[in-house]
C-alpha cells in the first residue's frame, strides 16, 4: 500500500523539477509557462493525496478551482506571448528590457 509520504515525496520531486526548469530555461517564456504547469500539477497531487488520506473532499474541490485558474492563466499568458512576439520579433526574456531605466 502506498503511504501518504510517498505521494508527498513524489510531488515534491516533481515540484523541484519544475523549479529547476525555471532556473535552467530562463530565456524561453514558453518553457517557463510549461514549468509553472508542472509545478501546479505537483501541488494538485499534494492536495488530492491529502484529500484522500484525510477523508475530506474539499481538497479535490480546491484542485478543481486551481485547474480553472491555471487554464485562464495559460490562455492570457499565451495571448501576451503572441502579442509580444508580434511586436518584438522574439520571445527572449533578455530582450524585454524596455522598462529598464
Amino acid at each position: 500500500m502506498i503511504a501518504l509520504s510517498d505521494y508527498l515525496i513524489l510531488s515534491s520531486i516533481v515540484f523541484c523539477i519544475g523549479l529547476a526548469g525555471i532556473f535552467i530555461n530562463r530565456t524561453n517564456i514558453i518553457m517557463l509557462l510549461m514549468c509553472v504547469e508542472l509545478i501546479l500539477a505537483a501541488v494538485n497531487t499534494n492536495f488530492i493525496a491529502f484529500s484522500y488520506y484525510g477523508g475530506d473532499l474539499a481538497g479535490q474541490i480546491f484542485v478543481f478551482f486551481i485547474l480553472t485558474v491555471a487554464a485562464a492563466e495559460v490562455a492570457i499568458g499565451l495571448a501576451i506571448l503572441t502579442l509580444m512576439f508580434r511586436s518584438r520579433g522574439s520571445i527572449d526574456i533578455d530582450a524585454t528590457n524596455t522598462l529598464k531605466g
Binding site: 500500500m1 502506498i2 503511504a3 501518504l4 509520504s5 505521494y7 508527498l8 515525496i9 515534491s12 516533481v14 515540484f15 523541484c16 523539477i17 523549479l19 529547476a20 526548469g21 525555471i22 532556473f23 535552467i24 530555461n25 530562463r26 530565456t27 524561453n28 514558453i30 518553457m31 510549461m34 504547469e37 508542472l38 500539477a41 494538485n44 497531487t45 488530492i48 493525496a49 484529500s51 484522500y52 488520506y53 473532499l57 479535490q60 474541490i61 478543481f64 478551482f65 485547474l67 480553472t68 485558474v69 487554464a71 485562464a72 492563466e73 495559460v74 490562455a75 492570457i76 499565451l78 495571448a79 501576451i80 506571448l81 503572441t82 502579442l83 522574439s90 520571445i91 527572449d92 533578455d94
Partner: protein, 184 residues
C-alpha cells in the same frame, strides 16, 4: 527529461506524458473526476494551445543553448536543497502509513462525481460562480489582446456614419441632353 530538452515541442510532449502519469496517480487516489478533467482540459486544450503557439512562433535555439549551461549549476543546487529538505521532513514519520492509516476503499456504487457535485453546488457555489466569471474575463482578455489589428476588423465608426453629408456620398453630374436636331 522535459526541462532539459532543447526542442520546445519535445518538452511539451514530455509535459503531456507527465500529465498522463499524474492523472493515473489521481485515479489511484480515487479522484476520478479530476483525473478525467486533467486529461480533457490540460492534454486536450491547454497543451494543444501550447503546441500551437510553439509551432506558430519560431523560437531561437541558439540563445537557449548558450544560456543552458550558465544556469544549470544554480538550478540543480536549488532543487537538490529543496528535495533534501522535503525528504527529511516527510521521512520523519509523521506522514507514514502507520500514522495516517489506510483509508477504506469505497464500494462500486460510490460516485466521485456525485460527491464532488454535491459539495460544489451547495457549499462552494459562490467560488464556483466566481470561477465562471474568471473564465469569462480570461476569454475576453485573450481575445482583446490578440485581436488588435485594426485594419482587418470590420467595426463601424458610428460618428462617421452620423456625420456623413450628402455631398460625400452623392456626386451631381450635369449631363446635357442631346438636342433633338443632332440625334436625327
Amino acid at each position: 527529461m522535459m526541462i532539459t530538452s532543447r526542442n520546445t515541442a519535445k518538452a511539451a510532449l514530455f509535459l503531456i506524458l507527465t500529465f498522463f502519469s499524474a492523472a493515473s496517480l489521481w485515479l489511484l487516489l480515487e479522484a476520478e473526476f479530476l483525473a478525467i478533467t486533467l486529461i480533457l482540459i490540460y492534454v486536450g486544450a491547454v497543451m494543444v494551445l501550447f503546441m500551437f503557439v510553439i509551432k506558430m512562433l519560431d523560437t531561437d535555439k541558439s540563445t537557449l543553448r548558450a544560456q543552458f549551461t550558465r544556469y544549470l549549476p544554480l538550478g540543480i543546487f536549488v532543487s537538490i536543497i529543496v528535495i533534501a529538505q522535503m525528504v527529511l521532513v516527510l521521512n520523519a514519520g509523521q506522514f507514514d502509513l502507520a500514522m495516517t492509516g489506510v483509508p477504506e476503499k469505497h464500494d462500486a456504487s460510490y460516485s466521485n462525481i456525485t460527491a464532488i457535485a454535491e459539495q460544489l453546488y451547495t457549499v462552494y457555489v459562490y467560488p464556483f460562480e466566481l470561477a465562471a466569471i474568471l473564465l469569462l474575463i480570461a476569454i475576453i482578455a485573450a481575445i482583446t489582446l490578440v485581436h488588435r489589428n485594426e485594419s482587418r476588423s470590420k467595426k463601424q465608426d458610428i460618428s462617421e456614419q452620423i456625420n456623413v453629408q450628402a455631398k460625400d456620398r452623392m456626386r451631381m453630374a450635369s449631363i446635357k441632353p442631346k438636342s433633338a436636331k443632332e440625334s436625327k
